[in-house]
């Protein structure tokens, strides 16, 4: 666990958190641009998870920014463990949300334009792609210690 300690509060961690926040926010934005997502369970789950991921990444972004720009925070082992497991859970949740959304969009596209107008489906696809990028950044955070 010691080698992970460097990750928290470093500028590399700050950049990754910033990316995670941007991608998860934009994926939620594209999904919620119209209220059609209420019709599908997978899309509702997606919105819930992305809300959680945004909260989590913004909190850690603020802490990282404080640690980099203002004052370096002391690194506690317990905090690192919490962040590690939190990242793990968020990573699994966002991967699950991105996969279920993209598979539903794929099925809707196959079912024809009556079920999913191209403009709306393009937005859903974009949203799923952003969620995949957000997941990728959160898994990078766990695998590569900075």
């Amino acid at each position: 666990m010691e080698e992970l300690a460097g990750a928290f509060g470093s500028s590399a961690s700050l950049a990754l958190r910033l990316g995670q926040t941007v991608f998860s926010s934009s994926s939620l934005f594209f999904m919620c641009l119209e209220l059609g997502f209420y019709s599908y369970t997978a899309f509702c789950y997606f919105v819930t998870v992305m809300g959680l991921v945004i909260l989590w990444s913004i909190t850690l972004l603020v802490v990282d920014a404080y640690s980099v720009f203002i004052q370096s925070l002391p690194i506690q082992r317990r905090l690192i463990v919490i962040i590690f497991f939190g990242d793990m859970i968020m990573s699994y949740l966002s991967l699950a949300a991105a996969c279920s959304t993209s598979s539903i969009v794929d099925l809707l596209l196959e079912a024809g334009e009556s079920n999913c107008p191209p403009k709306l489906c393009d937005r859903y696809q974009l949203s799923a792609a952003m969620a995949f990028l957000s997941w990728f950044l959160s898994s990078v955070m766990r695998v590569v210690p900075q």
Copy 2:
């Protein structure tokens, strides 16, 4: 990485690999019992991923069984890293497959019996549940070193 070394070739690892093999095989069995899965991209992806997971877990099951029952194998750092990253990739792939399958089944159930007869849909659900259990075991393998 040193603390992970204990995981490879231990009896706990053998039990987890056995569970993973059983769950992934049964999920593939329930999915392929009828050839209806060819109609959906997500189900085809599911079958491919489960095939890969079975191959991976059977290989490591054999190595673990050899190490536990016949002769303890020397633990090489490079091998542990390969197994760690292999488990990580398999865990992500099987979670993605399980999530996309379960979301498709949910949508088919909502669409009515004409799209998915109850007997067939029950099988797909069972298959997704088995895939989730297989994913859970492979993620336990990564998080908790024995």
